[in-house]
């Protein structure tokens, strides 16, 4: 069974729906519910993690090229999330410097590219946002 997203989702729902209620009154009930909630969220995000990072790094390289930066960050050696994250972080450091330089300019080209960077931030923040899990209230379960 390799459907990791499904496994995390089911474990999370088990924790929230069964384990946490049985611990009610104990401090660890909150831990179980929160762990379950995040397990469901992790299940949702697991499936798209590599694709999201791959898309992010490609868009960052395009923005840095448009800003005229001589980027020396190598491509990730694999599609492992850890490798893609390391590449993304290195490019993010470059992007911070590129945007700082753009903000010091007043020309239209700089303003347009800065606006593109902000649009990129919106899109990546939206892509990273897990859906709030839709657990019913206890009274709704009856």
């Amino acid at each position: 069974m390799t459907d990791i997203a499904m496994i995390l989702d089911r474990i999370g729902r088990k924790l929230v729906g069964e384990v946490a209620p049985k611990l009610e009154g104990d401090y660890s009930a909150g831990h179980a519910a929160m762990a379950g909630l995040m397990s469901v969220m992790a299940g949702e995000m697991w499936d798209g993690a590599a694709d999201r990072l791959f898309t992010e790094t490609g868009e960052m390289r395009a923005l840095l090229q448009a800003a005229g930066r001589d980027v020396q960050v190598p491509d990730a050696p694999s599609l492992k999330v850890s490798d893609l994250t390391a590449e993304r972080d290195a490019l993010a450091r470059e992007l911070i410097e590129a945007q700082k330089a753009l903000e010091l300019r007043n020309d239209e080209a700089a303003q347009a590219l800065n606006a593109q960077i902000w649009l990129f931030y919106i899109q990546t923040a939206q892509a990273r946002m897990p859906s709030p899990p839709d657990f019913p209230d206890p009274e709704e379960e009856v």
């Binding site: 831990h31 995040m38 972080d89 931030y121 897990p130 709030p132």
Partner: protein, 350 residues
């Protein structure tokens, strides 16, 4: 430390601190969710004093054993003392502050327990209907009343320096900028861009220096279930500064039930602002509010990043810290990107 062991040690401590108490015992102790950065316990005490048998409910807030935040505990204690008895702000009585880790293994303080209170889930504000409007009016009145507490001579001034009105924003921005840069495990381009924006567009000087609660929001007060706020809690981020910091924090979108039409998810904005102005004595300034509102997102990122680091480093394994470092961090990054993305869009008014 097990709760039984804690109860035994606290029994000895409380017996020495409550004047005239004899045969003191802890009859009930339960850990409660009171924020991941400290351990919070609800304790029932029974004892005798010269007037006869007594019972008392108290709240013990203890730093985790590896905590380096003794200063925060002192500040929280001083802030509660500063607000206690001021007008009708519902604040528990600050009873003892113990900075010696000897008695309970870590610094702690004790405050009176306010009975019959429950928190509001910021993600389910509608659950307090039909009391939403009444709670909202009190929420903004107490917020304004905190801003109006005389700062000079308050216990909080013994614990910290007082900024000048034009330094408030810089002091806070520097603090949270340092928290972000010191604790982030990855580059933070959105936070950095927001910090630069705030530096380039400073707010007007504070209209007055006030006690700033620092974390006044849905989830950090209790209500009695019948439309009355009966406790304002969680003062550990209190400081002296610009009252707009609290107003902006209290109305941040994250704890407004995603309701942009009602301030803090409670009542229409004009009514909320009117109540706050009357109670605080401040005049609403949209330019100041805008600055502090974006600052709020940056401050929140600082908290979420610090929380994530504590979880990652296994300093504190409470899952709420992972949640903060993930979901709420993302939420505030998205808010910053949406708001500043509009400001810096081509053709946007400068």
């Amino acid at each position: 430390m097990l709760e039984e062991e804690l109860a035994a040690k606290f029994t000895a401590y409380a017996a020495s601190r409550i004047p005239g108490a004899r045969n003191l015992s802890v009859t009930e102790i339960a850990r409660i969710h009171g924020g991941a950065s400290r351990q919070t316990y609800s304790i029932d005490l029974a004892y005798e004093d010269p007037t006869g048998p007594q019972t008392r409910g108290v709240i013990l807030r203890r730093d985790p054993p590896d905590s380096l935040i003794e200063t925060e505990r002192r500040i929280e204690f001083a802030a509660i003392k500063s607000a206690y008895g001021q007008g009708d702000i519902p604040v528990p009585e600050a009873m003892f502050l113990e900075t010696d880790p000897g008695p309970l293994g870590a610094p702690f303080f004790v405050m009176g327990r306010i009975e019959g209170g429950e928190p509001i889930n910021p993600f389910k504000i509608e659950a307090i209907e039909p009391h939403r409007v009444d709670i909202g009016r009190q929420f903004f009145k107490h917020l304004g009343s905190i801003a109006a507490i005389p700062v000079m001579g308050s216990p909080l001034t013994d614990e910290m320096d007082m900024p000048t009105p034009d330094q408030c924003w810089r002091k806070e921005l520097d603090y949270w900028m340092n928290e972000i840069r010191s604790n982030a495990s990855s580059p933070q381009p959105i936070a950095e861009a927001a910090i630069r924006h705030l530096e380039r567009n400073p707010p007007p000087p504070a209209q007055r220096l006030s006690i700033v609660h620092g974390d006044y929001r849905n989830g950090n007060f209790l209500h009695d279930g019948a439309g009355r706020i009966n406790a304002v809690l969680d003062w550990e981020m209190a400081h002296i500064g610009d009252p707009y910091e609290d107003l902006a924090w209290a109305t941040d979108l994250l704890w407004c039930g995603n309701d942009q039409e009602r301030a803090a998810g409670f009542i229409p904005w004009p009514e909320a602002i009117g109540i706050w102005q009357e109670a605080s004595g401040c005049q609403f300034d949209p330019i100041a509010f805008e600055w502090w509102s974006i600052f709020t997102h940056v401050k929140a990122l600082g908290i979420w990043i610090t929380s994530a680091k504590a979880f990652k480093d296994a300093v504190n394994d409470d899952p709420i810290l992972a949640w903060s470092g993930w979901f709420t961090h993302n939420a505030h990054e998205l808010m910053i990107a949406m708001r500043l993305g509009q400001k810096y869009a081509v053709g946007a008014p400068s």
